[in-house]
């Protein structure tokens, strides 16, 4: 199993609820568990994936996500089963939407 760790600088997140589960570990899909960390200047990403050799793609997708949202003080733990970059990006945005209470169901 390939475990990737990333840490990015980010603006502090401004929501109170900081626990979210989003997505499913199915073929071409992934699940994200969002929890809070004390350091609100940074966001952390832990990725469990069975696919190897795409570390730089993960980094690029997450960098793009961190640029779009203020996610400092959040940890994103991801279980991946071969999701494409577009799906990863979509699920991350979805997690933020749920955090902000915009999208349920």
């Amino acid at each position: 199993m390939n475990i990737l760790n990333f840490k990015f600088t980010s603006q502090p997140v401004d929501v109170t609820m900081k626990e979210v589960i989003c997505g499913v570990v199915g073929s071409g899909n992934l699940e994200i568990l969002v929890s809070s960390i004390t350091d609100n200047e940074h966001s952390e990403f832990i990725i469990n994936t069975s696919v190897t050799g795409f570390d730089h793609i993960w980094e690029a997708v997450i960098q793009e996500f961190v640029n779009r949202y203020a996610v400092g003080g959040l940890q994103f733990e991801i279980n991946d089963m071969g999701a494409t970059p577009a799906v990863v990006s979509l699920r991350l945005s979805q997690a933020i939407n749920i955090l902000e209470g915009e999208a349920h169901e």
Partner: protein, 295 residues
């Protein structure tokens, strides 16, 4: 009933969304939430990514103010298959029910059976689930099972589902022991063509299970209809599992076996049940099929 609105499908939802859409708003309290337990060590040792909940979500909730326990299998994660932790969560929930006595256990089964990656641990888990289900029934607590997911209920979970007090099924849901691919692999395509989807659903789908009396309720793949049937089932008394009850069940099955053994398709069974136009059944709604059974 005229259904012109957009269908609110049970089949297409994830396990979490199935729970959220059926229980009273904000009433669900999950037990062993994601992040509070480790992921499967058995899958990790095979280099397979695990899931935070190991493919099953358990917790307490109310449905129209009735206090129930909920168990929901996630069919998208490894076909809803039962591994060591997955099974332990289900068994724990069942045994806890005997202590706390909820009004019922509502079980959304969506599983191909044992998770073969976890071999013996998965097989043991299934047998523990069966034993726990019987204990729960013996304690007078109803188990209301809904079969309407992508994987249906096969293998060990097919047997387990049949230990419920009450089964609610959609046409899309399937219930059997060996899955279509397994039968084809072992017995050849002449025995059962697993690619013939119409055949697979005719033989294992909700309509035929309902017509043969293997499940109590046939319902459309609709969240509101399923919720209503769960509420109706909550009002029913629990049949006592004693020797005479079991003998009666066994006699019924023996009769079906004697009558229909060797038939290759549900069409011929429906024909021998004196149903007019058996060919048309696949196109009928749940209401219409229920009307046929009632005569």
């Amino acid at each position: 009933m005229n259904k012109s609105y957009i269908q609110n499908s049970f089949y297409e939802k994830t396990a979490r969304n199935r729970i959220a859409s059926i229980v009273d708003k904000n009433s669900f309290v999950e037990i062993l939430k994601p992040g509070s337990m480790p992921t499967s060590p058995n899958l990790a040792s095979l280099d397979i990514t695990g899931s935070f909940d190991d493919g099953v979500i358990i917790g307490k909730a109310t449905i129209k103010d009735n206090f129930v326990y909920i168990i929901a299998q996630e069919g998208q994660f490894m076909g809803g298959a039962v591994g060591e932790m997955h099974g332990a969560k289900i068994v724990g929930m069942l045994l806890k029910a005997i202590e706390e006595k909820p009004k019922a256990i509502v079980f959304f089964v969506d599983s191909g059976g044992v998770r073969l990656h976890e071999a013996n641990a998965g097989l043991i888990a299934i047998s523990e689930i069966m034993r726990a289900m019987l204990k729960v029934r013996n304690a007078g607590i109803p188990i209301i099972t809904v079969i309407g997911g992508t994987n249906g209920a096969f293998g060990g979970m097919g047997i387990s589902a049949c230990l419920s007090t009450h089964i609610i099924m959609t046409e899309e849901g399937r219930l059997a022991l060996s899955g279509p691919e397994v039968i084809e692999t072992l017995k050849g395509v002449e025995e059962f063509d697993s690619k013939d989807r119409a055949l697979v659903w005719r033989v294992t789908g909700g309509k035929t299970r309902y017509l043969l009396g293997h499940v109590q309720v046939l319902v459309e793949d609709d969240i509101d209809d399923i919720t209503q049937e769960i509420i109706a089932a909550l009002q029913l008394p629990v049949a006592n599992v004693d020797l005479s009850y079991l003998q009666q069940q066994q006699d019924g099955l023996q009769q079906q076996y004697d009558q229909w053994f060797g038939k290759k398709d549900s069409l011929s069974i429906w024909q021998s049940m004196n149903i007019n136009n058996p060919d048309s059944i696949s196109m009928l709604s749940a209401e219409q099929v229920k009307a046929i059974k009632k005569g």
